[in-house]
């Protein structure tokens, strides 16, 4: 069922060390990129593979690289977004811990493609083991001549620096991440200019997610067509011909595999890599289904920012397009299965509390609306409801929606609205009885 590409070798002992990684063909893609391909060819290969960003937005990676003006006289940067903080998401952590060298190799190829001599990994501060593994990997790569001056005897000089975040979810937003990296208060920047035009220190910058970059060595080594051989690619995109047709990596094009973080009250929750387009039910099966006595009520298919969808979507193939059509999103690939013993009000409160706590405070609707929303839902969850509270929740939600500076604020209404839509009777019961029909006493923490 699982198709290990990004996670290839994760179960091989010692794969996190450079020796084992190289024994299994590691860093050959880098060698190929440096000696047999021009930077433009690398970028084209990635573009035609249809690789899309794995951080949440799903933007075409090759297109992002193409935006970089290689002829610009100022330095170019590759910034790696390893600030994985979306509730329910833990796949980048798994990748960094188990296949760190694939990540490093991907970063080096990206630097070569966009003409960057410096890459920064912005790592979520709490991920101590990832830090250790990455630092070791960087050091090993440096000793092996894969990092530093004249990589593998080419004229390519590159260095990677690892920066630990200090614990703010907003730093996962790429422009806030750049501000934080520059030593400022992390708040999202106005776009345009996009990072590709003026990113880190005002220079052209590519910001990519860990999983995205871990795909890159495979694409370079095996080619775009190989990459598109699994998953749910748009058949109208002809990677072999490389001309005409719809753009690669957009709309219905979801090629390759995806590393999913699967959680909930499951028998076997964890990280699974499956081809794009795998039905959600299959992922449910891999995760061993819900624990005994529990029934599936809803699914958060793409991290906490993605609206919940009902069990009628149980068979939905997991692609960017299908989930968008279902009114949600594939997002960060965090699938949270919600059971019938989880109070939807508590769940909404849990997520709203998170967003309220993590709001950067820049824009009004997120800063004030998040707080207001939390206070009202908290009352509802704790049996202090007032008449009209549901209307109030909808009012606040409408006030926030479509008015925030960045996606963080826009995520506040998502779990609330979908919970209200899927479980109206449950909310109504809270309002009318001041208690929960399930009788769940503790918060049902996600993830």
């Amino acid at each position: 069922m699982q198709e290990f590409r990004v996670l290839m070798g994760h179960d091989t002992p010692g794969y996190a060390s450079i020796g084992v990684y190289r024994d299994h063909g590691g860093y050959e893609a880098l060698r190929k990129a440096l000696h047999q391909m021009t930077p433009t060819e690398v970028t084209d290969e990635v573009y035609w593979s249809g690789l899309r960003g794995r951080g949440g937005a799903g933007f075409c990676t090759g297109m992002k690289w193409r935006f970089i003006d290689r002829s610009s006289p100022v330095p170019k940067y590759v910034v790696v977004n390893a600030d994985e903080g979306e509730p329910g998401t833990f796949k980048d952590r798994f990748i960094m811990e188990h296949v760190p060298h694939r990540v490093i190799e991907g970063i080096l190829i990206a630097c070569h493609a966009v003409g960057a001599a410096k890459a920064y990994i912005y790592l979520r501060g709490e991920l101590a083991l990832c830090r250790e593994r990455l630092l070791t990997a960087i050091e090993e790569a440096r000793r092996a001549g894969l990092l530093g001056a004249s990589v593998l005897g080419s004229d390519f000089d590159v260095d990677i620096a690892l920066h630990r975040g200090a614990g703010a979810y907003i730093c996962g937003e790429e422009t806030a991440l750049l501000d934080s990296l520059e030593g400022r208060r992390a708040q999202p920047r106005l776009k345009p200019p996009f990072p590709a035009q003026a990113g880190l220190y005002g220079c052209p910058t590519v910001v990519n997610n860990i999983e995205t970059l871990a795909n890159v060595p495979l694409i370079v080594e095996h080619g775009a067509e190989w990459y598109r051989s699994v998953g749910a690619p748009n058949p109208a995109v002809d990677a072999a011909a490389r001309t005409g047709g719809p753009p690669s990596g957009f709309g219905p094009d979801s090629p390759g595999t995806r590393v999913f973080s699967v959680s909930g009250k499951l028998n076997n929750p964890g990280v699974f890599e499956v081809p794009m387009g795998t039905p959600m039910s299959a992922l449910f099966g891999l995760a061993g289904g819900l624990r005994e006595g529990l029934e599936l009520r809803a699914v958060i298919p793409g991290g906490s920012s993605a609206p919940m969808i009902g069990p009628e979507h149980f068979e939905i193939p997991l692609t960017f397009q299908t989930l968008a059509d279902a009114g949600s999103m594939l997002g960060s690939g965090a699938v949270v299965f919600i059971d019938d013993q989880t109070c939807p009000v508590d769940l909404a409160l849990n997520l709203v509390e998170f967003y309220e706590h993590e709001s950067c405070g820049k824009c009004t609707p997120c800063r004030e609306g998040g707080q207001w929303m939390r206070k009202v839902i908290q009352r509802i969850a704790h049996g202090q409801c007032r008449e009209g509270d549901l209307e109030l929740v909808r009012h606040v939600s409408d006030g926030i929606k479509g008015k925030c500076f960045c996606a963080l604020g826009e995520s506040i209404p998502a779990p609330v609205n979908s919970s209200l839509a899927l479980f109206p009777e449950h909310w109504q019961y809270h309002i009318e009885h001041g208690s929960c029909p399930i009788g769940a006493k503790e918060y049902s923490h996600v993830g």
Partner: protein, 695 residues
């Protein structure tokens, strides 16, 4: 501007054309459509944080294949597509064919939502808030708020009424997190006074430094910028409601920049001084000195004329002044450089036509230095701007502020050159700086003139040895200047004997810099007070052979040598640090007439004290260092028995038959215009931004 750098759009049905890159908010402003705003401020960077300026935006649908707008099959009208969400007009760039709607139901609902959010944690105790009556949140709530409050949860409690240094009071609960204050401080002032701490709903401004902000030069502007009552002025707080103030346009008397002010007076008290927008001079700002240094308008005033320490009616005072001076030879007038043009004009008439052998000295070095040959705009659009012993950060703060803004934008570099212990803050904030051996300013100017002509090694070595500046640094500076389109150079105050050689060195340097440059190179000495230039225009100058600066000013010499019989002091306090010998010489005069506002060392020595109105109480004109004529309109009546300076001197003139008719500012200005061609501008209306009358 060429056609393709302009875009055409419609806002609420009104069509307009704006330069590409213009954002919707200023475009709407330009046609008189006011979109509500909190974080937006025309002089600050665009932020897009408050979200209150939401509008609906529609873009024409473009056919990808042809690049042409899609037209409706039936009507032939272009087809529009609405952007998926409401857009913030402060961040949205105008594009060709765009349609903006600022007043639809959807927009009004969105705005009301935002205001409701802002009000959620904002205290609703406007009656006890100092900002009440001029609070932007209050106005916006009335204008486009939801009209009712659904928020009934508990509010956040934060610090109230915290003193930040001596002048600013911070109420954290009232802050609506618009970042205007922090943006001003970082984008203009390079002063880290506040910063935001915490995040989300707990975001709060805090003093950035542990040390008090007493040293801040521009932080007072954050009080005006604050749209709510979070930052208020310690001096103004609760002294008046804004609607009780008689706001009038004024001009700052503190330095040669002459910032445009709004004077807020009430019942004879000057309650506050604020900047008045003037993009040619001070943008939207004033320095803290200009803002807070007005206590003297109320305290320790001369409130009525006095003769020999006894209050007398004005008739007696005028009579005594005229009779004391009329038949005396060798009289000198010492004039403060912040004396208005009208007073100076009449004084000059009184002295030259009414008294025997008299001369006028203005207490500045302007006669030696000459006028500065450029405007603030000229300097802003120069690069690099070289400051030679010119501490504009202290002496002309707003000039520095405007140049610093350009420097922070990377459009200008400021290079500060002066003695090692001189102006550490200016040097720290400048783009580049060098330590000059004390007393070597002229050598530096001459050296630069030589180096611009030829930067060979021997010249470099010589200039480096003379000035103490490393040869490499000098070479870099010369290269930078030579490559520059429009360099500028400002020299500050110098010792008396150095002005003449400095001017000839500057002439030489300007000539060689000008060479084949199209734009005129601005290089000169910048000295003097608020009206130094105006006083010269109206004729207040000593003879050419009687010029000096500081302690060597000739009136002091003449006084000590016993060559003066009487002295008229107009404004200021020139005897405040006088030596015992000088005080003795003053006591030996037949009379000392003091025309001024306050009691001070000079007024205490005066035999006749003529109590004049303050700058907030009299109409007057100043000419700033650029040659910009500006007028000030009083916010208060002269207190007690004081009179505007022009009326006092006018009555002295009238007593000698040198003035007939009414004594108003207008009458004096008409008389000025009739007297000399150069004074004609005084008879014409003076615009809000002033009039350039000399260059």
């Amino acid at each position: 501007m060429s056609a393709n750098s302009m875009v055409k759009l419609t806002i609420d049905g009104q069509e307009l054309t704006v330069p590409k890159g213009t954002r919707v908010m200023p475009a709407a402003d330009s046609i008189g459509i006011h979109i509500p705003r909190f974080c937006y401020h025309g002089s600050l960077s665009v932020l897009g944080a408050c979200r209150v300026c939401l509008v609906q935006a529609f873009n024409p649908v473009i056919d990808r294949a042809t690049g042409e707008p899609v037209k409706d099959d039936e009507t032939g009208e272009p087809v529009y597509r609405e952007m998926p969400t409401l857009q913030t007009s402060c961040t949205l760039e105008c594009t060709e064919g765009m349609k903006i709607v600022t007043d639809s139901e959807k927009v009004l609902q969105g705005r009301a939502n935002i205001i409701e959010f802002i009000l959620a944690n904002h205290p609703l105790n406007c009656p006890i808030c100092d900002k009440g009556g001029e609070c932007e949140l209050q106005e916006m709530t009335m204008l486009c708020g939801p009209g009712r409050q659904l928020f009934t949860e508990s509010r956040l409690n934060q610090d109230k009424a915290r003193r930040i240094g001596a002048s600013i009071v911070l109420d954290q609960e009232r802050c609506i997190v618009c970042y205007r204050c922090t943006r001003f401080l970082s984008e203009w002032a390079s002063e880290q006074v506040f910063e935001f701490h915490e995040r989300g709903g707990h975001s709060v401004i805090e003093p950035a430094l542990k040390e008090p902000i007493g040293k801040a030069r521009f932080a007072g502007n954050t009080i005006d910028l604050c749209p709510v009552g979070a930052l208020t002025s310690e001096y103004f707080r609760f002294s008046a409601r804004p609607w009780e103030l008689a706001d009038t346009p004024g001009v700052c008397p503190h330095c040669a920049v002459g910032c445009s002010l709004t004077l807020g007076g009430r019942l004879g008290t000057l309650c506050r001084v604020q900047p008045r927008t003037n993009y040619y001079v001070n943008d939207n700002w004033i320095c803290d000195r200009g803002r807070y240094d007005y206590a003297w308008v109320q305290d320790d005033r001369l409130v009525a004329p006095e003769v020999d320490g006894v209050r007398v009616p004005w008739e007696t005072a005028v009579e005594r002044t005229v009779s004391a001076l009329a038949d005396i030879e060798s009289i000198a007038a010492v004039v403060d450089p912040a004396t208005p043009c009208e007073t100076g004009f009449l004084l000059q008439r009184f002295m030259s036509d009414g008294l025997k052998a008299s001369s006028i000295y203005v207490e500045d070095d302007f006669d030696l230095a000459g006028p500065f040959p450029g405007t603030i705009m000229d300097l802003m659009y120069s690069d690099p701007v070289i400051l030679v012993s010119a501490n504009i950060l202290e002496d002309q703060p707003i000039l520095w502020l405007r140049l610093n803004r350009r420097a922070l934008e990377g459009k200008l570099s400021m290079v500060a050159i002066g003695a090692p212990d001189w102006a550490p803050d200016l040097k720290r904030l400048a783009t580049d700086h060098a330590d000059l051996q004390p007393g070597q300013a002229v050598a530096f100017l001459n050296g630069m003139a030589d180096l611009v002509a030829s930067a060979d090694a021997s010249t470099l070595t010589r200039v480096s040895t003379e000035t103490g500046i490393p040869a490499e640094w000098l070479r870099g500076l010369v290269e930078r200047i030579s490559a520059a389109k429009r360099p500028a150079l400002i020299v500050g105050a110098l010792p008396t004997g150095e002005y003449a050689p400095a001017r000839s060195a500057l002439d030489r340097l300007t000539r060689s810099l000008q060479a084949d440059r199209k734009m005129p190179v601005k290089a000169g000495i910048l000295v003097g007070g608020a009206n130094s230039r105006g006083l010269r225009l109206v004729g207040c100058s000593p003879r050419a052979d009687a010029r000096g600066s500081g302690e060597t000013r000739p009136w002091r010499q003449a006084l000590l040598a016993g060559d003066l019989n009487a002295l008229i002091v107009v404004g200021g306090d020139p005897l405040c640090d006088a030596s015992p010998e000088l005080v003795e010489a003053v006591r030996g005069l037949s009379s000392l007439v003091y025309l001024g506002t306050n009691r001070n060392a000079t007024s205490e020595l005066a035999t006749v004290k003529l109590a004049s109105a303050s700058f907030a109480e009299e109409p007057f004109t100043f000419v700033n260092f650029e040659g910009r004529l500006q007028q000030s309109i009083p916010t208060n009546e002269p207190i007690e028995c004081t009179m505007p300076g022009l009326r006092v001197v006018g009555r002295l003139c009238a007593a000698l038959g040198l003035w007939h008719g009414e004594l108003t500012a207008d009458a004096v200005r008409r008389s000025m215009a009739e007297t000399a061609e150069t004074l004609r501008p005084w008879a014409a209306p003076i615009g809000e931004q002033g009039e350039m009358i000399a260059s």
